[in-house]
Subunit: 408 residues, 2 copies
C-alpha cells in the first residue's frame, strides 16, 4: 500500500480519519437501514426502465434541465404529499430537492449558523445532527423531553434565560413527529405552545420530519411548517419511506430561505435517476407502499419488544415508538452501555449507545437505540439474546433472562 | 408567497442568495452539459432494470451494504479503467466514490486546507474550483499556462519565491489532461518536471482528470497519480464520459488521504442506483461508448470552429482543445466580454466570460469559454452568429462577419 508523503500538509482541524470498512455486523441494530423485504424491487425496476426511456436524453443536462431546485415532477409530488398528509400549503416552487436529508441539514445549518451561534436541540436527538452542529462551532443547548416531545415549560425557561443573557438562539432543531430516538409524536396542543414561544421569543424552528411518513397512526398532527410557514424550515427524506441508499431528501421553506440554501448547494445537482424513479413510483403508489411497509415495520418492532421482554425483563425500560425504525430503551441507572458497546460489536452485535444520541453524553449512559428494520425476525430474536448475554457479562444486568436467574 | 420572519437570523457570511431558475437559454454554451443524442438511453434503461432486479433489496441498506467507499463493483471498474488507460496501479480499496467530482473536490480541499493556507492553481482554471477555494479562505497563487499546460519555469519561480517567504503551499490543483478551459494536455516530459518540482519543494499535487476519458487522441500521457502515487491525489468523474445528471465521481489516493476524506464524507453515501447503473453499463461497454461519444463531440467542435471562423474571422483566437466539451477563445485585447455577457444572456445566448475562469479576472477580460456538447449543429451555428452580432453591437468586434464588413 502506497503511503502519502506529505502528511504534514493535512488540515489539523476536522474529524478523525475513518477506520477501514470491515463488513456489516451479524446483528445490525444501528443506522437507519430499512426492511429489505419491503423494497418494491419489481416496481422500482420497471419505474427506472420507464423513466430512463422517457427522459434519458435529459440526463445530458445538469438537473435534467429542471434547474437547481431539482426534478420538477418530484417537487410536485413532495408538495402534493405535504398538502395531503401534513396540512402544509405549498407547491413545487417551495421545494428544493437534496442529496438525502443530511445534505438538507448541512444546507440549512450553513444558511443560519456562524461559529459561536447558539442553537437549541432536543436533549436526546439524532447524533449526526449534534455532530454537524459541533463541527460548525455552535453552542448547543439541550431542551428536556417527555413522552410528548419537548417540555414547553422547560423550553420557556431556556428561552427566558438566554434572552436574559442577551443570547439569541439561531433556531430550535426539532423532530416533532416520531422523534429520534424517543419515538414520540408531539400533540397538537404542544405544537401550538411551541409556535407561541417561537413568536414571543423570535425563535426560528428547524423541523426535521424524516420519519413522519412511517408513523403507525394514520394521521399525525399537522407539521409545524403547516401551522406557521413564516417561522419554520421543514426538511424530509425518502430514506425511511422507501430506501436509504437512494439519496434524495427535500427542504420546504419560503424563498428567503431557499435562495440562501441554493446559493450554498454547489454540488451541481442531486441524483437524477433516483429523483425520477421516486417521482414515478411514489407518484402512483405512495399510499399502497406505506400500507405495506408500516405493518411490516410494526411487526418487527413487536418481535423486538417481545425479545427484549424475554431477555431483559424489567431491567429494560422500553420507550415504544409511535412509528419509525428504532426503539429507545433504558437499562438500570448504574449500567453504562459504553462499557460493553465495543465488546458487543466485536461479537457481532451493533447498537447505538445512548451517549451518542444525546447533547450531554453522560445523561444517556444507560440508554441505547436499537434499529429493528434491517434484521429478519429470527435475527432480531437471536441478536437481542446475544445483547443480553454480553450486557450481563459486563454489567451483571439483566439478572434474569427468560425467567432464569443468571449466574456469572 | 410566504415571507420568512427571521431574516436577521441568517448567517451574514457565505455566498449570495440564488436567483430563481427561469429556464435554459436558447443558445446554451455554458456548464458541462453533454450531448443528449449520445446518451445510451436503451442501454441505461436495461441496465437500471437489471441492477435493481438483481440488487434491489440491498437498497434498504446505506451504501448498499458495501461500506462508505461505495458500491464495490463500480470501485473495481474505476480501478480497472485507471490501470488500463491511465497507467495507475490501484484496486477497489484505493477508490472512494463521491457525489460527482464536485463533492470529491470539497472533500479533498477540506482534508488539506485551513483558512489562510496557500494553494497554487492554473492561471485559467475551473471557476467552481476557485470559488470553493475562496470560500475556504485560501490564498490563491496563479501558475502561468502555455499550450502544454503549466509553465515549469514559472512554477519553479513561484515555489522558490514562496519558500523564500516561508510559505508552504498546501497543494497544486491542476487539470493536466484536457485542461479546463484551455483544452491542453500536458506532455510527458513536463509531467516529469512537475513531479521533480513536487519532490524538491514538498508540493502535494491535486490532479483533476474529469475530462481525460474524452481526449481525442487514443492515449494521453500517464496520470500524475500513476507516475507518483505517494505525492498525488487523483479525482475523476462520469459526468463527461456518460452524463452530468448522474452524480458520481471518485477519489483515488493512498489510505492516509482516503481515511481523512471518509471522515469528512458525512452524507450517508452517494447515489446507489446511479453507481450500480454505471458499473453495469460501463463495465460492459466503456470502450464502445467512448468510441461513439468522442467523434460526436469532435464533430460539434468542428461545427463550432467553422461557425466562429465564419462569424468572427481573425477577431477570435481559438485554443482548439485536445478533447472535452468546450472551446476557449480570445477576442482582441480591448474587448471586455463582461460588457455584453448579460445582454447576450437576455437575448438567449449564454457563455462563460473568461474572468469567471481565471484567478485574476481582469487577465481574462477578452476570453470566453464556449461549451459545444449540448446544442445541436444548427443551434451551434445560429448561436455563434447571434453571439457575433451581440458582441459587435457592444464592442465593434468582429468588424467583418462572413467576409462582410459590419456597420454600426
Amino acid at each position: 500500500m502506497t503511503e502519502f508523503l506529505f502528511k504534514d500538509a493535512f488540515s489539523t482541524t476536522g474529524p478523525e480519519p475513518a477506520a477501514p470498512f470491515t463488513g456489516l455486523p451479524r446483528y445490525n441494530f444501528v443506522f437507519g437501514h430499512n426492511d429489505p423485504a419491503e423494497i418494491p424491487v419489481e416496481e422500482l425496476a420497471r419505474s427506472a426502465e420507464k423513466v430512463i426511456r422517457e427522459n434519458g436524453p435529459a440526463l445530458a443536462m445538469y438537473h435534467l434541465g429542471h434547474g437547481p431546485q431539482g426534478y420538477k415532477p418530484l417537487r410536485e409530488f413532495v408538495a402534493r404529499k405535504l398538502v395531503e398528509t401534513r396540512a402544509i400549503s405549498c407547491n413545487a416552487d417551495d421545494v428544493v430537492l437534496t442529496s438525502g436529508s443530511l445534505q438538507a441539514m448541512d444546507l440549512v445549518n450553513s444558511t443560519f449558523l456562524e461559529p459561536g451561534d447558539t442553537v437549541i436541540v432536543e436533549e436526546f436527538t439524532y447524533g449526526g445532527a449534534v455532530g454537524k452542529l459541533q463541527r460548525l462551532g455552535a453552542n448547543i443547548v439541550a431542551a428536556p423531553l417527555d413522552g410528548d416531545g419537548i417540555r414547553m415549560d422547560a423550553l420557556e425557561t431556556i428561552l427566558a434565560d438566554l434572552r436574559g443573557r442577551g443570547v439569541r438562539p439561531k433556531f430550535l432543531y426539532t423532530i416533532p413527529t416520531v422523534q429520534n430516538p424517543t419515538g414520540s409524536i408531539m400533540p397538537m396542543e404542544r405544537r401550538q405552545q411551541l409556535l407561541s414561544l417561537s413568536e414571543r421569543y423570535d425563535l426560528p424552528i428547524f423541523e426535521d420530519e424524516c420519519y413522519t411518513d412511517i408513523a403507525w397512526q394514520s394521521e399525525s398532527p399537522p407539521a409545524l411548517y403547516g401551522l406557521a410557514p413564516s417561522r419554520v424550515v421543514h426538511i424530509g427524506s425518502f430514506s425511511k419511506s422507501l430506501a436509504p441508499a437512494l439519496r434524495v431528501g427535500y427542504i420546504v421553506a419560503s424563498w428567503d430561505v431557499l435562495s440562501r440554501v441554493l446559493g450554498r448547494k454547489t454540488d451541481a445537482g442531486s441524483p437524477a435517476i433516483e429523483q425520477m424513479v421516486i417521482a414515478d413510483y411514489f407518484g402512483a403508489q405512495f399510499d399502497k407502499h406505506l400500507a405495506a411497509l408500516k405493518p411490516a415495520l410494526r411487526r418487527k418492532l413487536d418481535v423486538m419488544i417481545d425479545a427484549l421482554d424475554r431477555e431483559f425483563g424489567t431491567s429494560a425500560e422500553l420507550f415504544v415508538p409511535k412509528g419509525g425504525i428504532f426503539l429507545w430503551l433504558k437499562l438500570p441507572h448504574h449500567v453504562d452501555v459504553r462499557s460493553f458497546a465495543q465488546s458487543a460489536l466485536d461479537q457481532g452485535v451493533a447498537f447505538n449507545p445512548g451517549p451518542e444520541w444525546a447533547c450531554d453524553p453522560d445523561s444517556a449512559r444507560s440508554y441505547m437505540r436499537l434499529c429493528f428494520a434491517l434484521p429478519d425476525e429470527d435475527t432480531i430474536r437471536e441478536g437481542v439474546a446475544e445483547l443480553a448475554r454480553i450486557c450481563f457479562e459486563h454489567t451483571g444486568v439483566p439478572e434474569r433472562r427468560a425467567n432464569v436467574v443468571q449466574r456469572s
